[in-house]
Each structure stands twice: as C-alpha cells, then as structure tokens.
Amino acid sequence: MNIKLNRLIKSRGFASISASLGAILIGLLFGYIILLISNPSEAGFGFMTILRGGFNQGVRGVGNGLYMSAPIILTGLSVGFAFKTGLFNIGASGQFILGAFAAIYVGVKWTFLPDGTVWIAALLAGAIAGALWAGIVGVLKAYRNVNEVITSIMLNYIGMYLVNYMVVQTVFNPTRNESITPSRAILPKLGLNQIFTNSSVNIGIILAIVFAIIIYIILEKTTFGFELKAVGYNRDASRYAGINEKRNIILSMMIAGALSGLGGGILYLSGAGKHIEIVDMLAPEGFNGIPVALLASSHPIGIIFSGLFIGHLNMGGFYMQRYDFVPEVIDIMIAIIIYFSAFALAFKAFLEKVSKKKGGKSA
C-alpha cells in the first residue's frame, strides 16, 4: 500500500495535477481577496457567483459554459500540442480568426453544397486555413531558423488585418459592420439543446473532446507523435537519429494551426449571434488557449478539463456582471493561476525531495 502511494506521489502526472490544483487554489484565494478589497460587503456573494459559474442559471448556464469551452479547448490543444513538440504557439489568435473567416466564407458562398453538409466543409476550410497560416511559422522556423514566437505574434496582427479586409470584401454586413451569418452552415445541436434547454451548446464541445483524444493518441501512441516530440527535445539529435526534423517542425505547426482554425470555425458557426466584427482587436480566444494549455501541463486529456474549468470561470464572470461586479477579476485570477503553475517545476522538485526523504527513512 505504502509503495503504491509512494509511486503515485512520485509519478509525473500526480505532480503536475497537484501543482495545477495548488495554483488554482492560490488563484481563487487571490480572487477572493481582491473582491474583499474592492467590495467587502458583497465579496462572499460575488465569489460564490464565480465558483458556481454556469450553474448560476441551471442547465442553460451549464450548456452555455460548454459552448464557451469548446473553442478554448481547441486553441488550448493547439498551444499544448505545439508545446509538446517544443514550439511556443502564441499565434493561435491569428490561426483562429483565419479559420473563422474561412469557415464563414465557405458557409456563405458554397451554395452548391447540399444542406447538412455545408457545416462539415466549412469546418474543414477553417482547419485548413489555420493550418496554412501556422505553416508559414513552421516553414520559416525549419528552413530559416526564425524564432516561432516572433513570427506567430506578427502573423496574429497580419491575420487580423487580412481578415478584416477579406470580410469587408466578401461576407460583409455593412449595417452592423460585421460578417454575415452563414445560416446554411450552422452546426448541428445533436439534441444537446434538449438536455441544456435554451443554451447555445452544439456539436462543438463533442468535436473538441474527440480531437483532444485524437491528439493524445497521436502524441503518446504513435511513432509520428514520438518523432514530433523528439524534434522538440533536441533538433540536432533527432536529425542524427534519421528523423526528418524540418518536415516535423512544419507538420507540428500545421496541426496546431488546424486545431486553432477549427476552434474559430466552431465558435462562428454556432448560430448564437457571434460575428467577426471589423475592429482592430486580436481574437481573445487564441490567447485564452495559452492558460488552458499551461494549466493542464499541455496534456491533451487534461486540456479538456482545464478548458471546461476556464469556461466555467468565464461564465461566473458573466453572471457577476449582472450584480455590478467587474468581470476582469476573472482574468486576474487566471493570470495568477498561470503564474503559480509556472512554478510547477520547482514544486515538482520539492515533492520529489519530500518523497525521497520519506523513502530514505523507511529503508
């Protein structure tokens, strides 16, 4: 029994999960303190509203929480997958918005497709657009050694301006200064709206979970995934071992981009009144992918849960607004959680030290 417990404590999974949970606790605590400082009399009430998240409004709120989680699970997977293969994909935002545009474009313009298949083509287009956009980063990294962080950041801005331009040229609703609704490509609800009545939930959350599982299998159970990770650990050693490291870097980025692009498609094909607005602002869903991935230590299955958790917190923030609280406290909490999860390395070393000491005594 003791040996089993020891092995559990020493296992990497346990260390990262407990580090994340610790970080979450610290983040929540800080959030509570901030509420106490800014509005002492209602702090407890506000804090409970955050914790309840979607549950503030029964099944409808939960359904909307799932709806909001789907795109950030996908961008989280995008960032996490890139992380696992040694790349920092801070460009999920640009990939996301290009994917969204491609999905809307296909959804509106490909009128030759029969009803019911348009959404599939649109989502595919979104994934391809995201993959190509991220592929630029991969090619430059592989062949010209350009730092992927900088190209990703640049491509976020280029993508935003490009999409603004293309929306105006092709799928524009001038009276509202935003993209038009791709009414033939709205995602199916699969009866989820009967479980979560009146909510915007749709097939997106299921797709997000399926893709998380697929990414897990690719990374952990296939040679291809092993090669991708090997290149991330040591590019030169991988080349020496006969791995085509240039191709793998490009493929890693393209897969990451496809996931973000898909996330964009899923959010904007929901039919829940989401449109691409023509403003000079980067898509926040792309940046939300970073905390989602970090909180789960980039583990694909963990990302499902961290995505749901951050979606839940965001719903809490949404309901807080009704009671005149400032919802940005949620973002502060998420930032604090990420900050402390960055300490995971030190925390793991500490855990190992403790368990080693214990092991030494018993022997």
Partner: protein, 317 residues
C-alpha cells in the same frame, strides 16, 4: 515639405516608446532572461502613472508633473517586473510562461482597478505637455522643424536613454558582467559574478524602461488610456530582435517601425499614397510583414544571447 516634417514628428511619437521598451528588453535578454512580459509591464506602467497624473493634475502642473509621472511609471514597471524576475530567476520557471502570466494580468488589473476606483474603464487625463516650439532651437533650418517643433520632452529622454544604454552595456564593468551572464552564466559565475543578481538587474531595468515606455507611448497619442498599449510591447520585442540585441541597430529598427506605423495611420492625408489605392489594412500590415521578411534573412546568423531563456543551473557545464 511640411508633410515631411509632420510625418517625422509623428514618427517620433511611435518610435521613441518602441526604442525605450526595446532597449529595456535588451537589458533583460542580454542578462539571460527572455522578457515577453514587456507588453504587460507597459500597460501597468502607463496605467499607474496616468492614474497618478490624473489625481495630481489639480495640484501640480506642466512638465514637472510629466517628469514625476515618468518616475511613477519607472517605479511601477520595476515592481511588476519583479514578479517575472522572481519566477524566472529564483523559481527557474519557464520564462515564456511567467511572461505570459504578466501579460494576462496587466490589462485585467488596469481595467478592474479603473472600474473599481474611477467607475469607468478609461483613465482620462489632460495633455498639457506638448511643446509647440523649443525656444531658440526650433528656428534652426531643417533640424528645428524636425526635432524641436511639436514635440515632447520624452523624445529627448528617449535619445538620452539610448546613449546611456549603449554606454552602460559596452563601456562599464556592469555591462560586461551583464552580457557575460547572458552568454555563459556558468563561466561568469566561475569568474566571481553573482549571476542571480545580474539577472535581477537586467529584468528590473527592462521593467523600468517598459513601464516608462507605456507612459511615453500614451501621452502624445490619446488622452484616455484604455487598459491596453495596442501590441507595442510585442512590437518592441520584434524591434529588439530586428535590432539584433544591439543599441544602434535597435534605434534603426525602432524608427523603421515607427515610420511604417505613421504611414499606416496617416496615409489618408498624403495624396500620392492615397492615390495608390492600397487598402488601409495593408498599410497596417506592412510593419509586421517587413519584420518577418527581415527576420527570414537575418535569423540564420542570429546574434541572440546564447543563454537567454535558460534558467541558470550552476551544475551545468
């Protein structure tokens, strides 16, 4: 000719903050700590100093208030950068992650605090700092209209920071030690340099300059700070890399970016540019595209500090 002068004056407003922040990033990265938190630090610096300016503008006035606000910006930038320093130096955290945390924190902090204490999201202030013409100097032909008309003291402070940075980095013992820690910290340690202390110094200088840059960026272009600096921190990072971590080249890169930004913002007022019929969005994209192109041709022989991004591990050889 007046269009040309106008463009250069505008370019200053965009270039000087980029210059200041990129120089800050240079100190951090040269000491071995990658600082993608520049964006967040700029926001915090701008927010706290403008909040200070707003509260004091009844009591103090004129350039003195601007100078005091700049000191507040420097201080608050240093304070927030301590978070990044502690995580990446003491806790050996992934520097990109802790930087991201600061970037997530800063806009939320600014908006939350503003809404909780002012009631609205925007921090408004009175701009009373523009210098229409510097007495005497503004009448010099060409140079007068270029550098001494329609300007702010921040422009001169930016240039002063450039000169001081160059001097500190290359001509002082401190600068040599700082660079050593970014190239080979183990060797620096063996030579008796306290790597941790030098890296703290690097990050704190970057915090001071980024905080200042946030204020310097905001004052000339708006009178209502909205909890964001429009990606200038990231742009400064690009300037830093474009400038190959060297002060002189950073100056060039900052002005190149600033000029592109100015063109994007002002092209509708320049007849021959407008006649080209290029959509505004493409002008806005240009600085970012140019960065990628330049990096494509320079990254093979990148002059990045060798140990930047790695936590210092004394046992490593």
């Amino acid at each position: 000719m007046s269009t040309f002068y106008f463009l250069i004056q505008q370019t200053m407003f965009y270039s000087i903050p980029l210059l200041i922040v990129a120089l800050g990033g240079m100190f951090s990265e040269r000491s071995g700590v990658v600082n993608i938190a520049l964006e967040g630090i700029m926001i915090v610096g701008a927010f706290i100093s403008l909040y200070f300016m707003r509260s004091m503008q009844g009591t103090i006035s004129g350039q003195l208030l601007l100078v005091l606000s700049m000191l507040v910006a420097v201080g608050s930038g240093m304070l927030i950068s301590l978070l990044h320093a502690y995580a990446s130096i003491n806790m050996k955290a992934n520097q990109v992650i802790s930087g991201t945390a600061v970037n997530l924190f800063a806009p939320a902090f600014a908006i939350f605090t503003a809404r909780a204490f002012i009631g609205v999201q925007q921090v408004t202030f009175i701009n009373q700092y523009r210098i229409a013409a510097v007495p005497g100097l503004s009448s010099i032909p060409v140079l007068g209209p270029l550098f001494f008309t329609n300007t702010y003291i921040t422009t001169y402070i930016g240039f002063a920071i450039l000169v001081i940075s160059w001097f500190v980095l290359y001509k002082t013992r401190f600068g040599l030690r700082l660079r050593a820690c970014g190239e080979h910290p183990q060797a620096a340690d063996a030579a008796g340099i306290n790597v941790y202390r030098m890296r703290y110094a690097g990050v704190l200088i970057s915090g001071a300059l980024a905080g200042l840059g946030g204020l310097v960026l905001t004052v000339p272009v708006t009178t209502a700070f909205d909890g964001q600096v429009a990606g200038y921190g990231f742009l400064a990072l690009a300037v830093l890399i474009f400038g190959q971590w060297k002060p002189g080249r950073i100056l060039f890169a900052a002005f190149f970016f600033g000029f592109m930004k100015t063109i994007a913002a002002a092209y509708t007022g320049i007849p021959w540019l407008l006649q080209l019929g290029i959509p505004g969005n493409f002008f806005k994209m240009t600085p970012f595209i140019m960065t990628i192109i330049v990096l494509t041709f320079t990254s093979k022989k990148s002059a990045a500090p060798k140990a930047a991004g790695e936590p210092y591990d004394p046992g490593k050889r």
